[in-house]
């Protein structure tokens, strides 16, 4: 028998619920991960079983699974967050945290050198496509701004914790390990979308003094973050045990906060610069 549309929809939503559970439990300890995935699979199965018994229609069941899935996403993320916060161990700083700062610096340098090739890139098909399309540029710009919010927002939270202005009861290491993956993710999107924005009109950005200022500050900010992750944050466990953060680290965090704020201002002023 060929399954009808609503049956296929039910299978698809059941798959979606399972896929989401797989995604947000990825990387957790085996018993926790397996228990949660099994629990969701069982819940979805019970719902599908009612359809099989004829107690409800497959379309309604599919809609219910989908709604329950989407309405529960914030709680799933918070559950993961809470689990991470409760079980994080003070291990060494992972390699990708070191890569975050270096990534900012390298992308800043890349953009700077790309600016010198602006005459060449401005005529490229990619540049023309972004520039001439009605929706590509606004979409990229929107993604860029959202990613900046995530990147700078989460980085600022880490800096504020190091400064001791927020989350004082949470160890610096826990805040770093929980938030810096989001900083890295945000950074990746910022770099990619930023490169596309630059590609839209390289000639314009190459001659813009605010663009130069932004790139310069990105370079400094990236090097500061890299130095912090490479040298300073390796001692985060010691700070948590001692109960205070050294003045030098707090100065670096304050500097980082100011710099990200200035980078946003410079980025905004690019639109008005010549």
């Amino acid at each position: 028998m060929v399954p009808d549309m609503s049956t296929r929809l039910l299978s698809m939503t059941a798959f979606l619920a399972g896929a989401w559970a797989t995604l947000y439990t990825a990387g957790l300890a085996d018993p926790v991960r397996q228990t949660r995935r099994r629990e969701i699979a069982s819940d979805v199965w019970e719902c599908c079983a009612e359809v099989g018994c004829g107690e409800r229609r497959s379309g309604a069941a599919a809609a219910e699974i989908l709604v329950r899935l989407f309405l529960g996403i914030p709680d799933d993320i918070l559950w993961r967050w809470e689990y991470q916060m409760n079980t994080s161990t003070n291990g060494p700083v992972p390699w990708w945290l070191n890569a975050t700062g270096l990534g900012v610096s390298l992308s800043a340098l890349g953009l700077y050198f790309a600016a010198s090739l602006s005459a060449l890139t401005s005529g490229s098909s990619l540049s023309i496509a972004i520039r001439d399309s009605v929706w590509i540029f606004p979409t990229i710009l929107t993604v860029h701004v959202i990613a900046i919010c995530a990147f700078v927002g989460f980085a600022a939270m880490v800096d504020l914790r190091v400064l001791g202005w927020t989350l004082r009861r949470t160890p610096v290491m826990d805040v770093g390990q929980s938030l810096l993956p989001w900083v890295t993710g945000g950074l990746a999107v910022v770099i990619i979308s930023g490169a596309f924005i630059y590609m839209s009109d390289p000639m314009r950005y190459a001659g813009n003094s605010y663009f130069d200022v932004k790139i310069g500050m990105l370079l400094v900010g990236g090097l500061n973050a890299w130095a912090c992750h490479r040298r300073v944050y390796q001692r985060a466990t010691e700070w948590d045990q001692a109960g205070h953060v050294p003045a030098r680290t707090r100065i670096a965090s304050g500097f980082s906060l100011a710099l990200w704020a200035l980078i946003i201002v410079a980025g905004r002023l690019i639109a008005f610069g010549a």
Partner: protein
């Protein structure tokens, strides 16, 4: 907003109450879907509680010691060709929490009644004259 340690949010109270209802019906162990259905029935809502919201609350209740859980014997699940269930059970602390919540609710209702009795009756609003305009 940070909640007071040991206090329960309405969903957690509702889960404990639903668990208690199931227990009275002779179902001492329940799984997530059955509690979601019971919550829907008790709350008279159209939708079951979202997956994330429900299982996060169940996790919190277990951490508080109001519920305890265990994974179902895999042979039973295999015999019925379905995924294994996580079975929850209301603890004595959970039953106490329901009683405490009910008492707190009664006290709040009592306070509210006393407050409303002390309030002066509202004067009736004069009807607006016909033809009145703000200009």
């Amino acid at each position: 907003m940070r909640r007071k340690p040991g206090s329960l949010v309405p969903l957690e109270i509702a889960i404990c109450e639903a668990a208690s209802v199931l227990q009275q019906r002779g179902i001492s162990q329940f799984h997530g879907y059955s509690i979601a259905k019971e919550l829907k029935h008790a709350g008279d809502t159209r939708l079951l509680t979202a997956y994330g919201t429900l299982y996060r609350a169940l996790d919190r209740l277990e951490q508080m010691g109001l519920l305890r859980s265990q994974l179902e014997d895999p042979h039973i699940a295999a015999a019925e060709s379905r995924p294994g269930r996580r079975l929850y059970e209301l603890t004595a602390a959970g039953q106490q929490a329901i009683a405490d919540a009910a008492q707190a609710l009664n006290e709040a209702r009592h306070r509210h009644t006393k407050r409303t009795q002390r309030m002066k009756p509202i004067k009736p609003i004069k009807p607006i004259k016909r033809g009145w305009s703000p200009t």
